[in-house]
């Protein structure tokens, strides 16, 4: 983990109508670190992700990816500059097979763009990368299954695979373990560790075991503002965070 800043947010503001959702968020994500974003529901975590990934444009403030200003750019432009994201509600190509899903995810990064004079089946590197990804996410058995027929956990794994397929150095994960059982969560944590080694990770999570297990630093978002940033032990001990989110000793055990 170097001191280079992979992703920086400078005083982001976003309102919907008269309701201010993000009220001045500044954050620096270091290159190669795993950074978790936690906070109560309605704090604005999804909105923040949408701002960073280009789904929404902020009212004011800047977003810098590796030093380049990506504020207000379209999602595909942001992806091409090296930021990829997963979604809380599984967002895959439901009519394509698992293999096709992953192949589509690598095409741009491999430089094929909008090619219409080359046969897809002949592109050995696209095929190889997709096959390798299938192995890594553990869906080799389901290679030719139509994505909509997969189980929930399999779809989440595929979602993850698509997210990391292009080799983006910065990855946003939106509640990767949402709706999973204990064992599924553990497997997903393992998967995440393997798949995202060496990359910068910004993750929204509600499952505290995942957060404290994976994250090197944690930021806490409450009512559209970051109230604390630091190492897991610091956050756990921080009184403001406990009041706002984690709860005091009596309510914590559940």
């Amino acid at each position: 983990m170097t001191d280079a800043i992979a992703l920086e947010l400078q005083d982001l503001q976003k309102s919907f109508g008269r309701t201010a959702i993000i009220r001045g968020v500044s954050l620096q994500i270091r290159a190669g670190e795993c950074h978790a974003l936690i906070g109560p529901n309605g704090a604005g975590k999804s909105t923040l992700f949408n701002l960073i990934s280009g789904r929404l444009a902020p009212d004011s403030g800047r977003i810098l990816l590796g030093g380049t200003d990506i504020t207000g750019r379209a999602p595909f432009e942001i992806y091409r500059r090296g930021l990829s994201r997963s979604f809380q509600i599984t967002n895959i190509f439901h009519n394509l097979t698992v293999f096709e899903n992953l192949r589509c995810a690598v095409l741009w990064t491999l430089g094929y763009r909008y090619a219409f004079l080359r046969r897809l089946e002949r592109l050995a590197d696209a095929r190889a990368q997709a096959e390798e990804l299938i192995e890594r996410i553990g869906l080799a058995q389901r290679r030719d299954a139509i994505a909509s027929t997969l189980t929930y956990a399999e779809q989440r794994a595929l979602e993850l695979g698509i997210t990391i397929a292009g080799g983006s150095p910065v990855i946003l994960l939106d509640e990767p373990t949402a709706g999973m059982s204990r064992s599924e969560t553990e497997r997903t944590i393992e998967l995440l560790r393997r798949l995202t080694a060496g990359r910068t990770l910004l993750m929204v999570e509600h499952d505290m075991e995942v957060v404290f297990g994976l994250a090197e630093r944690i930021s806490v978002l409450v009512y559209g503002q970051v109230i604390a940033t630091g190492a897991p032990e610091q956050i756990r001990a921080d009184t403001r965070v406990r009041e706002a989110y984690l709860g005091t000793a009596e309510t914590e055990a559940h």
Binding site: A74, Y79, H94, N95, L96, C104, A115, L117, R119, L120
Partner: protein, 425 residues
């Protein structure tokens, strides 16, 4: 449509071999007027419907104005044809459909630039508006569009094809073979396109445009490119029509023609590559053959379409696929008796419907007192009996069908209920 595992090489070639055989054999066997007309209409419609499905089935774009592209191609072709005739240019007439393709491409690039700014329902509405725009322009610019009478041409103005004397495209058979050759080339071309990176990404944009953006593709750009490809092939189809009928009118760009392509594609099934091929043939049967028998054929076509939307959105190709799957796993045999009686009821209801429609139509034509002939039976539209009979058959057949269907659903477990290949979710 969406990347099934590759079958063995011979199995993949079989449909192509069959198609080529058909294209070559039919004009040779039948050789006379009506069959040749059907052949030409079918082959042209196949090209048009497949081009339409590049938008609908492959990219998820519903367009109500596709005839703009085929029509612009047709106009480009006929103007170039006339130019060849005037200036004795070296361009062979056999390549004129390609000019049509370029005309369609140009229209696709310009209009598509505007229409692809939106997607989904808004896109559909815009295509309708653009179609009307071009249709309205056709009366304003008689120089290009030929006004009410359209533009005519003569396809024999070029030199002999491959230099062979007598091969001047004058006869219908020669024209049919030209159409067949272009049809084959277009089908192969569109099939190939769907196997390219652009083709697959178009599928991805269809399924989840947002996700496609998040893997680096501009959904708008993909849609525009696919529209251009689609309009290119549509233009070739239009060029073929221009050569075949030797006249192009405002109808070639009109809303009616656009609707026909939509109908043909959907009836066949947008979720399969061969769906539009099937749909084109069925459609031409309705339009060219059925129209000889009854004037209300468009009503029947419309009702057929609505029933398909409600009950079988995957189209005829999907229905066939399901039946084949059931035949293979043996469940068809179990259903056979039930299916037979259900089919009988449907037939009865259909006859009742036909009776009522034809009676109404006959009454409207105000030929009271004159009997009506239906399948050789003389019927008097003024008497109540035929009406009652028709209504009874329709209602009775329909109700018994529903009852039989309900009974079957209770008795048999769901056999092949796999994902419906309607292209949308």
């Amino acid at each position: 449509m969406s990347g099934a595992p590759p079958a063995g090489p011979l199995r993949g070639l079989a449909p192509w071999a069959g198609g080529v055989a058909l294209l070559v054999a039919v004009p040779a066997i039948f050789g006379h007027g009506f069959a040749l007309l059907l052949y030409a209409e079918c082959a042209i419609m196949v090209v048009l419907a497949l081009s339409y499905n590049l938008l609908l089935g492959a990219s998820g774009m519903l367009s109500f104005g596709h005839a703009v592209y085929s029509g612009c191609g047709a106009y480009a072709a006929i103007h170039v044809l006339n130019w060849i005739g005037r200036s004795h240019a070296a361009l062979p007439v056999t390549l004129v459909p390609l000019v049509g393709g370029l005309g369609g491409l140009l229209a696709g690039a310009t209009f598509g630039f505007l229409s692809t700014r939106r997607s989904g329902t808004a896109f559909a509405m815009i295509t309708l508006g653009l179609g009307e725009l071009v249709g309205a322009c056709s009366l304003m610019f008689p120089g290009f569009f030929g006004g009410e009478g359209g533009i005519s041409g003569n396809r024999t103005v070029g030199g002999n094809v491959f230099g062979v004397p007598g091969w001047n495209l004058g006869s219908d058979i020669q024209m049919d073979y030209l159409i067949g050759a272009w049809c084959l080339a277009c089908v192969a071309g569109m099939r190939a396109l769907l196997g390219t990176p652009l083709g697959r990404i178009a599928n991805a944009v269809r399924d989840n445009p947002e996700r496609a953006e998040f893997v680096g593709y501009s959904a708008r750009q993909v849609r525009w490119l696919m529209l251009m490809a689609s309009s290119f092939f549509a233009g070739i189809g239009g060029g073929l029509a221009a050569l075949n009928f030797e006249i192009v009118t405002a109808e070639n760009v009109g809303a009616l023609r656009s609707g026909e392509m939509l109908l043909a594609t959907f009836i066949g099934g947008a979720g399969y590559f061969h769906g539009p091929i099937l749909g084109a043939v069925v459609f031409v049967f309705f339009a060219v053959a059925l129209s000889q028998i009854t004037k209300a054929w468009q009503l029947y076509l419309g009702l057929f379409f609505v029933v398909l939307v409600l009950k079988a959105p995957g189209g005829l190709a999907d229905v066939a696929a399901r039946f084949l799957a059931q035949a293979r796993d043996g469940s068809l045999r179990r259903r056979a008796a039930g299916l037979g009686s259900m089919a009988g009821c449907l037939l009865l209801a259909l006859l009742g419907l036909i009776l009522l429609v034809e009676l109404t139509y006959h009454r409207t034509l105000e030929s009271e007192g004159e009997g009506m002939r239906l399948i050789g039976l003389g019927l008097d539209a003024a008497r109540p009996l035929p009406w009652v009979a028709g209504a009874t058959m329709l209602l009775g057949g329909g109700l018994v069908f529903r009852w039989l269907r309900r009974r079957e659903a209770q008795a048999l477990p769901r056999s092949y209920a796999g994902p419906s290949r309607a292209w949308w979710r």
